[in-house]
């Protein structure tokens, strides 16, 4: 068609063409309409030509579309092609496909419309299919997002956070309130997000849920919002109360999706309750196992720390233990069972008991570990457990130790650099499903030395190599050695865990060996008094006495010894004075014994005066008489004199 033909007078073919044809002015006014168009819109030529605009002949929706979309395109592009619109006709709507071309030179727009009734039916089916597909794709996406968030959630708090976030996120609500059922089924408000429905926080919105409709777990649209029942396997776990968005563009709540999310949330709450229950059983178990008090004996001190992993829900399989391996030989153990939760905790309990059961006089660390290999065979969760085991002879300070895949113990001497004990190593328990040859090693403690056993959470960090972590640990352990054992452990744990990003279980056991009790004999000529003072000072330091206590006690001891030598020996230079000391509950008990007879202070002014000095120094002094005389002095290891 040439542009000149556009404005030409219609001929017969134009008038009764099987499609609707029209010529419009540029503002849309119909200048000419053919018979088909007039028939489709059910109007006379006089009503239309020169009076109405094309958009007046369209359905309302199509009219808006024409004004907002088609007319602008026609002005800018000069044509629109194959647009689906409806004509408003006497027998209802006439769907047409419209093509329009602007002929600017002639000042007209030519329009052709073909009936699209059949095609529209087909397209409508296509569109419906497409909408359904898009809607289910959208529903599946929302469901998947919600389900993924719920399955990642830990515990009831985690599920609460996940479902409240999903409500105002992918579920598109303006706000949400979560009500959870307690053991008796009563609902209580647990949390909210966004702008939750306006309800009284003391009154659950669940009245409606008690009617029959809720029993099948379907979401309900109510005036105050949408109620989504959260059904678990056995009972209603709670109700999610949603406030739909009121934006003009927002979609109405999709009850199908909400019902499905409600079911998922109910099951997630089931799981969360179970999980918390099992976590709390595991926690209880671990606590009860670790709470067993260590043997008591003045010859050593043990301090321990246990810090559970993430959020108290992740109970791990770390443990420590101390018990008598034989008379005078203390066993100290730290171990780590692979995994978390109840399984790991119960495997830990069994392994801990097994260590005690297989330890016996004469067994020793290496054979003990081999026996444990056999023991872990049937207990799957205990396989690949690591153990550091040491036996300490409390009289000599000799330590026999062995590590099955466990980080090395640290020897923290009273003076000098710390040492990682790298000997006596072998593979983890039950590794490769067999019993292993195990090696062990020995090291001697000096009085005042400490031995540190721990699990990997104390030093392992993803961002640094293991050796570096161990060096940091050894350094930190040495830095705290002046403090009493409990403070030493607390300080070390705090220092080491400061930079931790991922919370892991941490077990720490510190053995403090002050060495054997102090015991010396001196002849009454006191030639050895100076040596005694040095030895006693050294011994006191090994016990952890502070400077004030050491000075006081050394002075008190020399005073008492001098007193004993002068008054208790009866003038015989070969007579002996015995000086002994040991620690009881942080208090040094110093005893100076001579063979003389105690006489009351009045007859012996000198002796009485010596006692006065001692009393002034240490506060607590007693005198025992029997075969000879014993002056007993008590003073705390630390702090100012009373």
């Amino acid at each position: 068609m040439s542009s000149a033909a556009g404005a030409a007078a219609p001929h017969q073919g134009w008038a009764d063409a099987p499609c609707a044809l029209a010529t419009l002015a540029l503002d849309g006014t119909v200048l000419e309409a053919n018979a088909t168009l007039l028939e489709w819109v059910g109007r006379s030529r006089g009503d239309v030509e020169g009076r109405l605009r094309l958009s007046d002949l369209l359905s309302v929706g199509a009219r808006i579309y024409w004004e907002t979309h088609l007319s602008p395109v026609l002005h800018v592009d000069g044509r629109v092609d194959e647009v689906a619109v409806d004509l408003d006709g006497p027998r209802g709507r006439q769907p047409v496909l419209l093509t329009a071309v602007a002929r600017s030179s002639a000042g007209v727009v030519q329009v052709a419309m073909t009936s699209a009734r059949e095609r529209w039916r087909y397209e409508r089916d296509l569109l419906a299919a497409r909408r359904t597909a898009e809607r289910s794709a959208g529903q599946v996406r929302v469901l998947q997002e919600a389900t993924a968030a719920l399955s990642r959630a830990l515990g009831v708090d985690g599920v609460t956070r996940a479902v409240l976030a999903a409500a105002v996120g992918s579920l598109g609500a303006a706000g949400a309130a979560l009500w959870l059922a307690d053991a008796r089924g009563a609902l209580a408000l647990r949390g909210s997000s966004g702008s939750p429905p306006a309800t009284d926080p003391s009154t659950p919105p669940a009245g409606a849920l008690l009617d029959g409709a809720a029993l099948d777990g379907a979401a309900l649209l109510r005036a105050g919002g949408v109620l989504v029942p959260l059904r678990g396997q056995a009972a209603l776990q709670g109700v999610l109360h949603l406030a739909p968005r009121d934006d003009p563009a927002s979609d109405p709540p999709d009850l199908e999706v909400l019902t499905a999310v409600g079911q998922q949330t109910g099951l997630a709450l089931d799981r969360a309750h179970l999980y918390e229950q099992s976590a709390s059983v595991a926690r209880e178990l671990q606590h009860s196992l670790l709470a067993v008090s260590p043997p008591e004996d003045g010859r050593f001190a043990v301090a321990t720390a246990y810090r559970p992993g993430v959020a108290m829900l992740e109970v791990g399989g770390d443990w420590y233990d101390t018990f008598w391996a034989e008379d005078g030989v203390l066993a100290v153990v730290v171990g780590d069972v692979v995994g978390r939760g109840l399984r790991a905790a119960s495997a830990m309990g069994q392994l801990r008991s097994a260590v005690r059961a297989v330890a016996a006089p004469g067994v020793g660390p290496a054979r003990l570990l081999s026996r444990l290999d056999r023991f872990v065979e049937p207990i799957e969760a205990a396989g690949m457990a690591t153990v550091a085991y040491a036996e300490v002879d409390l009289d000599t300070g000799r330590v026999r130790y062995a590590c099955a895949g466990h980080p090395p113990p640290v020897l923290v001497p009273r003076c000098g650099p710390p040492r990682l004990l790298w000997d006596g190593r072998s593979v983890p328990l039950g590794a490769f499903g067999r019993v292993h040859e195990r090696s062990e090693a020995e090291v001697d403690l000096s009085p005042g030395d400490r031995l540190l056993l721990y699990t990997d959470g104390l030093f392992e960090r993803r961002e640094r190599p293991l050796e570096v972590g161990l060096e940091v640990l050894a350094h930190a352990a040495a830095a705290g050695r002046g403090a009493p054992p409990a403070e030493h452990v607390a300080g070390l744990t705090a220092t080491m865990l400061r930079d931790e990003r991922v919370r892991d279980d941490v077990c720490v056991l510190l053995l403090d060996w002050p060495g054997p009790p102090f015991s010396r004999r001196l002849s009454a000529d006191l030639r050895e008094l100076s040596a005694l003072r040095h030895e006693l000072a050294d011994w006191l330091a090994a016990q952890g006495a502070d400077d004030a206590a050491r000075d006081d006690l050394v002075l008190a001891a020399s005073e008492a010894t001098a007193n004993a030598a002068e008054h208790g020996s009866g003038g015989r230079p070969e007579a002996l004075v015995r000086v002994g000391a040991h620690v009881e509950d942080g208090v040094v008990v110093l005893a100076v014994h001579d063979e003389g007879r105690w006489r009351p202070p009045v007859p012996s002014v000198e002796r009485g005066r010596g006692l006065g000095i001692i009393r002034a120094l240490v506060g607590e002094v007693s005198v025992e008489t029997g075969s000879g005389t014993t002056v007993v002095v008590r003073r705390a290891l630390r702090g100012e004199r009373p």
Partner: protein, 278 residues
């Protein structure tokens, strides 16, 4: 996010001159100002933008919560003006953008020297004592019509990109993008546009404004124009001798003349607009 990239902002006209911002209406993009904006390039710094979801905007910036209300689009506009920092602007808003401008001017009067509202309507659906022109069912009918052209829309992209033989002067870039947008976003924008009620917001505006109404407009009937004038403090109403809802395309010369008359001495004389002869 850079608001200028997000809204596909185009800046032109006289540097240092007072800014004039053009915001397009529902169904189109900034191209619809092609016959109007050039008329102000000598006297103003012209700023054109596409609302998120339209034209060359960043579709990924569409946020169902933010853009579910016209306030979200007003926030976008404020961010654009803040980012440009050109001083108080003349806002020229067509159709739904006139209400977006009203919301922006109510929130940030410092950014606007005057408003030019082309075919505004604060509410398209009828209400008690108010005639917006449509019922909610008729708006649903619009969504159906949009859906009916959904398939055609997808199918048409390819040939359109190949070129526009019948109007080569427009260039293929223009023809391939004009008034075409993601149908899902267009559907949401239709609901935001036609189901919003911003009547109460008119009273919050103190910026002087010009209301331009067409003699006949199927989308915004004359009484709506009067309503806007009556409820907007310091508003002037000019009825253009034009029909339809897009005088910026169909009667650009009249529109430009009315704007220049209103802006008065503030606007320097400009050459005849390029598209005015059509």
């Amino acid at each position: 996010m850079d608001p200028l990239a997000r809204n596909n902002v185009t800046v032109g006209g006289a540097e240092g001159a007072p800014p004039m911002v053009f915001a397009h209406g529902f169904g189109c993009d900034q191209v619809m100002w092609r016959f109007v904006a050039p008329a102000f390039e000598a006297s103003h710094r012209t700023v054109l933008l596409d609302h998120v979801g339209a034209g060359g905007s960043d579709l990924s910036a569409y946020d169902p919560a933010r853009h579910g209300r016209l306030d979200g689009y007003a926030e976008d506009l404020v961010e654009v003006l803040d980012a440009l920092a050109l001083g108080p602007a003349v806002l020229v808003g067509h159709s739904v953008s006139s209400m977006i401008g009203v919301l922006a001017a109510a929130a940030r009067p410092d950014l606007f020297s005057s408003l030019v509202l082309v075919c505004p309507s604060p509410r398209y659906t009828d209400d008690e004592g108010y005639r917006g022109g449509f019922t909610a069912e008729q708006i649903a009918d619009l969504l159906d019509t949009m859906d009916a052209n959904y398939l055609g829309w997808s199918a048409q992209i390819a040939p359109v990109i190949m070129g526009v033989p019948h109007r080569p002067e427009l260039g293929q870039e223009l023809a391939s993008s004009f008034c075409r947008t993601d149908p899902a976003l267009a559907r949401r924008f239709a609901r935001t546009t036609f189901l919003s009620d911003n009547r109460a917001d008119l009273a919050r505006v103190r910026t002087p404004s010009l209301v331009l109404q067409c003699r006949e407009d199927a989308i915004a009937p004359p009484e709506v124009g009067h309503y806007v004038r009556d409820h907007l403090a310091g508003a002037e109403l000019v009825v253009l001798d034009a029909t339809g809802h897009c005088p910026n395309l169909s009667a650009s010369a009249e529109l430009v003349a009315a704007m220049k008359g209103y802006l008065g001495a503030g606007a320097a004389p400009a050459p005849a607009p390029a598209g005015a002869s059509r």
